[in-house]
Every structure is written in C-alpha cells, then in structure tokens.
C-alpha cells in the first residue's frame, strides 16, 4: 500500500522560449544618468546586432515558469533522499540567510583586505574547525567540489614526491571507489592500479602490500568505504604505504559517519578532502555548487594552492601569495566562499555535542534500515554498517526485477530512489544512506515501501519493472536521447530542417 503520497493536479509548462513574444518585458532600467552612446560607433564591427532567440517574457511568466517547474522536482524539503554516498541531509535555512547578508553576499573578491576582515575571519574559523574535525594540520578551501578536492590532493602528493625528485607513476584505487577517484588520478597524470576488494568488500591489505612499491605515489581510499564499512585495518594500510614512501589520500565523502567520533588525521591519513555539500549541509541545489576543502598533514602544507590565509604582523588577516613550493592555484579567487559561510553556520548550530549526535543518528538510521530490510533484500557484505547500507537485488533478479526497477518503483511510493549501480563491487547494488535527518516515522515509511515493493516483485513483477506509474512523465527514452542528442531548443522551422521529430505542444 502506498501511504506516503497521493496524486494531485500538477501544472504543465512549456519551454520559456515558447512563451516569448516581441515587446514583453520583465525588466526596466533606471534612466541613464550619463550621456547615451551609440554602440556601433564605440564598438564598430564588434557591435552585436541582435540576441537571436533569447526570450522576451514578463515577470509573472517567469515566476510561474519556475514555480511550476519546481513542483516537478523531488527535494529534501519534501522527503527522505536515501542516496547512498551523497549525504542528502537537511539544509538549514539560517545558512541561506547569513550567506546573503549584505557584507557577505556582496563582497568583491578583490576589495582591499582591510575591508574584508569579516570574510577572512570566516575563512580562518572554518579552516580551524575543519582541521580540528579531521585531525589535520593545514587546509585549503579553494577546491570547488569533491572531485576538485581530489585533484588538489593528488597534486599535493605529486608535489611532495616531485620535491623529493620523482613524482612517481601510480595511484592505487580500490575497485569500490567512486568514479571521480580514477578520473582524478588520470588527469593528474597517474596510472591507476585497481585494487580488488577482499571477501568483505574491504581493502585486502596483503594484496595491497604486494602492489605497493616505490613507483606508487599513493592510494585513494574512501573510509568508511563505499559499502559503508569502516576500514578497521586503516592504520596498517597507512603503514604499508608509508613504508614505501607512498601517501594515503582519503576521499572524505563519508565523513558523516565519523565527525566527532574519530579523526582521519589520527588514523594515518596524509591528505583528504571534505564535501561541504555533504557532511556540512550546504545545499546540493540540483547538482551544485559544492565545496571540497583539502586538509593535510604539516609536511604537505608548503604545497597547498596559493593564496593561503595568514595573520599579518598588525593582527589583520590577509592572503599570502608568495609560496614557492605551491602546486599553484586550482581556481580563481578563494573558492566557493558562500559555501564556507553555510558550513560554518552548520558547525555553530551543532556545536561539539550536536556534531557527535549527528554522526550517531546517521549511523543509527542506517543500521535501523539494515536490520529491517535484511533478508528481504540480500546483504552481500555482512560487516557492520556505519552511515550507509548496501544491499543487492540478488533476490529480486530471480523475478526479473533489477535494482533500477525497484528504485523507480520507490518513486511511486513517494521516495527518491537510493543510489543504484554503485559501488561496482556489488552487482545490482541498492546503496542506502538515510543521513541523520530522517525521523523514525519517515524511516518506517521507507522500510514499509521497500517491503511492499519486495512483495510486488514476487506477486506482480511487471508492476515494478514498468514503474514509475504516478509521475507526470514516465520513464524516459534515454537511448534515443543519447543517439540523436537534442541539447538545445530550436524553433519549429529550424527543428524540422534538422529532421528532429516535432515535439507535442504544451505537454511537458
């Protein structure tokens, strides 16, 4: 029985271009207070004549356009978002409020330091908090997301080796790793050694030991692993690497399982990134922005990107640009400052007690789901879960139903799907991370939904395979989307010329 949602009328809406008509306006400029100019005269041949198909609409049409569109989305604000590895937790509104305070939201990155002390103090305090939370010595907030943090971190490792005369050649990455890990190692110019997980889905330390030699620059490890399990041999892993001069990089995507309970800096990690848009609650915003600070041990500090924050002799904060060993900048300006503000507000709202309780609740929620669904869905690895639990669709494939189908059926039950097809070491994975933000009530509804779907798989598998049934659009034809990509709107005429099939009007 579907208990969490009903069906309701939901507004259709075409593309904004389909509402455009010459002369409609959503703006008015103040009168120009300097002499008018003739663009043709000033710009000559560089003057632009017209702006093509840019829309002309009124303000109310824009309000309705995006309000209607928004109602087609699922969101944390609407319900549980059990996306494993994504840490879809509550995004507090006070964070949005403080990020928009005039002096914070409107500060120019190049305004003189003496009138930027507020911003710099925010950066400083956040850096200190994050170093404390990770147990690291130094940090850069410049990276714009997790993958960008990985890039920065691996370049730090590279710079470290290079300073010793040889950047080395390889990075070890477990087969359970997120796609960004190998992609990052590759763009940093490293060969990837794919490390097969052991029977528990964890790092096979002896296999690792056999692979690490002095061509290995380091290892990228996610801890807790992507199956949600703490690498209990973590220090042995670090030792194996360190013995050969290789470094341990930790992908901090799963820090929500650790904050306030243990610190990577204490268990042997040399460098790591954090995802402020996961652990520290900055909103995902439909795909971004994020922020991926990179924290490291003291010996890597000289290599951090420029600029780094410094306290000047007069006590004022400022940026230090003269860093001869730095890997250089990874981004213009100082990173996604707006996310720093939100993350710091999150830390304030929690305090040490709240941060610890948050971690405990995240872990409690995952284990509650695990307990209730174990047996109904197969648990491929039995080791204790931290903040997420990974099932497989093994029991369901017997009826021809795959993890992706179950995920789609969850939509009819009023939930966003869990993560599918990751990690790769679990064929047909159902990767579930509830986060601390879910009440028992919401978890029980989720568990009921999952049980109910499991029953449907046995009684009426086609119902599940054809899902979702209750959404405004059904499953999309992804194949033809990729085969004949239509990546932008064109007016009917142009479209037909391009032999793209005519879309229905007003139906989306």
């Amino acid at each position: 029985m579907i208990r969490k949602v009903s069906q309701h009328v939901n507004q259709n809406e075409g593309l904004i271009f389909e509402k455009s008509s010459p002369g409609k306006k959503a703006y008015k400029l103040p009168p120009l207070d300097v002499p008018e100019v003739d663009p043709e005269q000033i710009l000559g041949e560089y003057a632009r004549e017209d702006l093509g198909l840019m829309p002309e609409v009124s303000e109310i049409e824009i309000i309705r356009h995006f309000t209607r569109l928004s109602t087609w989305n699922y969101a944390i604000d609407l319900g549980m978002y059990p996306l494993g590895s994504c840490t879809m937790k509550y995004n507090a509104r006070v964070n949005e409020f403080v990020a928009r305070l005039e002096g914070i939201g409107n500060a120019h990155p190049y305004q003189p330091e003496k009138i930027s002390q507020g911003a710099l103090r925010i950066i400083k305090l956040l850096q200190e908090c994050l170093c404390e939370i990770t147990g690291m010595d130094a940090i850069t907030l410049q990276p714009a997301a997790g993958a960008h943090g990985e890039f920065t971190g691996i370049l730090l490792i590279r710079a470290h080796h290079e300073a010793k005369g040889n950047p080395r050649k390889k990075i070890v990455i477990p087969d359970s790793a997120h796609g960004t890990n190998p992609a990052t190692a590759a763009i940093c110019g490293y060969e990837i050694i794919n490390l097969k997980s052991n029977a528990e889905g964890m790092v096979d330390v002896s296999l690792l030991a056999s692979l690490v030699d002095d061509t290995v620059a380091g290892m990228m490890l996610t801890n807790p692993s992507t199956i949600g399990v703490f690498e209990k041999d973590i220090h042995r892993i670090a030792d194996v690497l360190h013995e050969k001069g290789a470094l341990l990089y930790m992908d901090g995507a799963n820090m929500n399982a650790l904050v306030g309970k243990t610190r990577p800096g204490d268990f042997g990690v040399d460098v790591m990134h954090l995802n402020l848009h996961k652990t520290f609650s900055t909103p995902h915003g439909g795909g971004g922005p994020g922020s991926g600070p990179v924290a490291c041990k003291r010996f890597l500090e000289p290599f951090l990107p420029t600029p780094v924050l410094t306290t000047r002799k007069d006590g004022l904060l400022g940026f230090e640009y003269n860093r001869p060993q730095s890997i250089g900048r990874v981004r213009a300006f100082y990173g996604n400052f707006g996310m720093f503000v939100r993350a710091l507000a999150y830390i304030f709202a929690n305090g040490p007690d709240g941060l610890r309780q948050t971690t405990e609740d995240a872990v409690l929620n995952a284990n509650y789901i695990r307990k209730k669904l174990d047996g109904i869905y197969e648990l491929p690895y039995k080791t204790g879960s931290m903040h997420e639990v990974v099932f497989s669709d093994h029991l369901q494939t017997q009826n021809g139903v795959k993890t992706g189908d179950i995920a789609k059926r969850l939509i009819d039950y009023g939930f966003h799907p869990y993560t599918t097809s990751f990690p790769l070491i679990v064929p047909g994975a159902l990767m579930i991370e509830p986060t601390e933000s879910e009440s028992k009530e919401e978890l029980d509804l989720f568990i009921d939904a999952m049980k109910s779907i499991a029953r449907e798989v046995q009684e009426d598998p086609q119902l599940v395979v054809g899902a979702p049934h209750d959404t405004r659009v059904a499953r999309m034809d992804e194949t033809s989307a990729a085969r004949r990509p239509v990546l932008r709107w064109k007016p009917e005429a142009k479209r037909e010329a391009a032999a793209v099939p005519k879309p229905e009007l007003v139906t989306t």
Partner: protein, 442 residues
C-alpha cells in the same frame, strides 16, 4: 539538536529494535586508539540568533555600502529579486543532481533552457550544464581541445585573466603539457597577432584568448580564429564578463567558448560560487566535460529531459572520462537562467549598452586627469588607467569616501607601472564616477 528529528525515546526504541544496547556498538569497528573520547574543539552550540549575530558582525567588518569600481573577473550588477525568490524554493535548493528524470524535470528543463540560452549568446551550437567557474572552465576547455586534436601544446594570451592563467598552469604543467604565452599590443591591449602566429605550431592543440580581455579590450576574434585554424589548432575564447555578450559580437568563430556567467545574477560573494560553462561546436560534443541535458520523450511520447551522453563522465567512464567533474554549479546556473529570462533579448542589450555608456563616460572623465591606456582598444565596461600615484595609495584615499577603486595591475603586469583596471557597470552612478575622476587628479 534542532536539526535532528528524534526524541530520546525514538533513539531507545530504534536501538532496541536493532537489538543493540548502545549506539557505541556501531563504532566498535573503529580501533579504540582512534576513537575520539573528547568533545571536538569547535565553538559551542549556538542559538539561531547567535549565529546571525556572528555573521552580521563579520558582514559589518566587510565593506558594505561602498561604490565598487572593481571588475577583473567579478562584476557588480543588479540582481533582480525574483532570482533569490525562485532559486530559494526548496524544490530547487534541496534537490540532488537530476539523475532520476521522472522527479527531476524541473531541474532538467531549466538546464536545457540554460544550455539553449548560452548557445544563443555565445554563438556556439552546444553548451554544458556548468563548470565550477571561468578559470577551471578555461583549463578544461584546453584539455578538451587536446582530446579533440590529439596535440598537447597550448598558446595562451597574456591578456587572459592572470588567475585563470595560473589555474591553467596548475592543470597542465604537472603533466608536462607546454604552454606558450603571447604578449599584448601596446596600443590596444589586444593579443599580438604576429607573435601569436609564430607561437602556433603543428603541436598546438589550441589558442586561448579572453575577450573582452583582462584589460577590457575586445579581441579581434575572427582574425585570431583564422590564424589558429590555419595551423589546425582549435580556438578557445574565454569570457569573464558575460554581459558583454549583450552588445559585443559573439565569438562564433571559436571552437570552444568558456564563459564565466557570474554577471548574470550571481552575487559577488567574495569570489564564489560562480558559474562557469563550456559551449562548443556540436561536432566536439563527445569530448565535452561535464553534464549535458538532452530532450527526449517518455514511453508515452511525452516530451521530457534527461542527463545524456554520460559515457563521457567519470561515473561511467572512470579514468577514461573527459573530466573528473561531478558536482557542478547547478543552482548558480539556475540563477543565471532566471537572470537571462528577466532581461532577455532586449534587456541584455539595453543593459549592456548602459554599461558601455557608463564606462565610456568614466574613461572620458579619467582621461582628463590621467592616462587611459590602450587608446586603440574597443572596450565594453573596463579600461586601464595609469596614474602618477601608486594605485594602492589612491585606493586607500578613495576608501575613506566609501569608494572601492580599480584593481592595481603591477602585481601581474609590472611593466604597466601605476596602472589599474577600472570597471563601470549600471551600478555606478554619474556622481560616483565624477567623484572618482576627481580623486585621481588629487
């Protein structure tokens, strides 16, 4: 804890249903010596009002209410209020990447509209869903050109934003991919075409310029394109001031355009989050980094949108992906989309023309007392002024009048001496401009 939806009784009940005595059991996997048995040394839990007080104090320590004449890659434009009113809706703010198309059509259609408008404005055929910012976008554009051409050298104008160049350097040099920097013309600030021509070899993957460039000078895109293409190199144009596209011809001759769309409704925010995006010729789509949204139909034939061509991306292709980018700048791109809708076809032009007029007026005023460099340049809303005084000293004086002066160039272009880069947008009033021009004299 006010964000945690559990009562103590809920926790007890859940533990007992799981069958464990205490929450500690779940943390047994952490070896005892690494378990933290103390409070983290972070500020104590604060009330919401205390959080606001803290940030208000920080906000007050920062500049507020100053007239801003800084541009240099971050532009002060008016942000219509409906941007935040709409982007703050929980359904946009708190949703994930739209992998589940059936419950993400709102975000997907928005991105499709964004891609379309970026194409219209840049003169390109395709655009992606966003990049981190203009600097990383420029670096990724070069890597993309390398994948397309199979070449590894790049030729870059020195008049590209210095911090963009630093980022490009970080992305390329550790992999031993050579970069050649080309000087600018003394009279125009534009790239020196002869030097450019000489710099391009059969190993050159691409030429990267910025237009309007860091000095505010508009580059001769068509001429540069010719030179690049003649040697089989791709031509990449970086644009830091997106609003210029309202009145400056789009770089339709480019192969790839890397745009920083911050000007389109994104707050200055001390440097980020901003809104990079790559646009390109359609034939290069398979080498495009980042997410792409495409139109398709659902199984009932209804129009809809999906993330597509994801075999380019890291979650499918891993080390063979076109980039490691995953999280992008979606919400910021939404803001830009709303901005572009508000101003639209006529408004962007009218607004850009106002910027042109303001900067033109300001340059004329400055010219009375100081030297405006690059006299032969065509400019949008930035220009370079050389003063007798050290610009830092001048800016200090201006601060007292609640004016933030231009960006001193000596750090990046020592050869320009006491030059600084000034920007005038629709936010700068005539009164401010005149006050500033006055101060230059003093």
């Amino acid at each position: 804890m006010r964000y945690l939806p559990k009562s103590p009784a809920d926790r007890e009940l859940m533990l007992s249903e799981i069958g464990v005595a205490s929450i500690d059991e779940f943390f047994q996997a952490i070896p005892g010596e690494y378990r933290l048995d103390r409070d983290l040394n972070v500020p104590r839990q604060m009330a919401e009002s205390e959080i606001i007080d803290y940030f208000r104090q920080r906000s007050d320590e920062n500049a507020a209410g100053y007239a801003v004449f800084l541009g240099a890659g971050a532009y002060h434009h008016y942000r219509p209020v409906i941007i935040d009113a709409l982007a703050q809706r929980g359904e946009f703010l708190t949703s994930y990447t739209p992998y589940q198309a059936e419950i993400s059509q709102g975000t997907l259609q928005t991105i499709f509209e964004f891609q379309t408008m970026i194409c219209e404005l840049t003169g390109m055929e395709i655009a992606n869903a966003s990049m981190y910012d203009g600097s990383t976008g420029a670096a990724e554009a070069i890597l993309m050109a390398m994948r397309v051409t199979g070449r590894e050298h790049s030729v870059i104008a020195r008049s590209v934003h210095p911090e963009y160049r630093e980022v490009i350097h970080t992305y390329l040099h550790h992999r031993g991919m050579p970069m050649h920097f080309v000087a600018y013309e003394e009279q125009s600030g534009e790239i020196n075409l002869d030097e450019l021509d000489r710099a391009i070899t059969s190993e050159t993957a691409c030429v990267l310029i910025q237009s309007p460039n860091f000095f505010g000078s508009i580059e001769d895109v068509a001429a540069i394109a010719d030179i690049a293409h003649r040697k089989g190199a791709l031509f990449v144009v970086s644009i830091a001031e997106a609003l210029s596209l309202g009145i400056v011809k789009p770089p339709a001759e480019a192969d790839i355009v890397s745009l920083e769309a911050q000007s389109f409704g994104v707050p200055l925010g001390f440097g980020g989050p901003y809104d990079g995006v790559l646009a390109a010729k359609e034939k290069y789509v398979r080498q495009m980094p980042g997410r792409l949204v495409g139109e398709t139909k659902d199984k009932n034939g209804k129009r809809g949108y999906v993330l597509t061509l994801s075999t380019r991306e890291q979650h499918i292709r891993r080390e063979k992906a076109t980039s490691n980018i995953c999280t992008n700048q979606a919400l910021v791109a939404l803001m830009s989309t709303i901005y572009m809708d508000v101003y639209g076809r006529e408004g962007l032009k009218e607004l850009a023309t106002q910027n042109l007029a303001k900067a033109h007026y300001a340059a004329t005023q400055f010219a009375k007392k100081a030297r405006v460099l690059f006299p032969n340049a065509k400019r949008f809303n930035e220009f370079v002024v050389q003063t007798k005084d050290d610009p830092h000293a001048m800016n200090d004086r201006l601060l007292e009048k609640k004016i933030i002066g231009g960006f001193p160039l000596r750090k990046f272009y020592p050869e320009l001496g006491n030059a600084s880069l000034w920007c005038c947008t629709e936010m700068n009033t005539r009164e401010q401009i005149e006050a500033v021009a006055q101060a230059v004299q003093a």
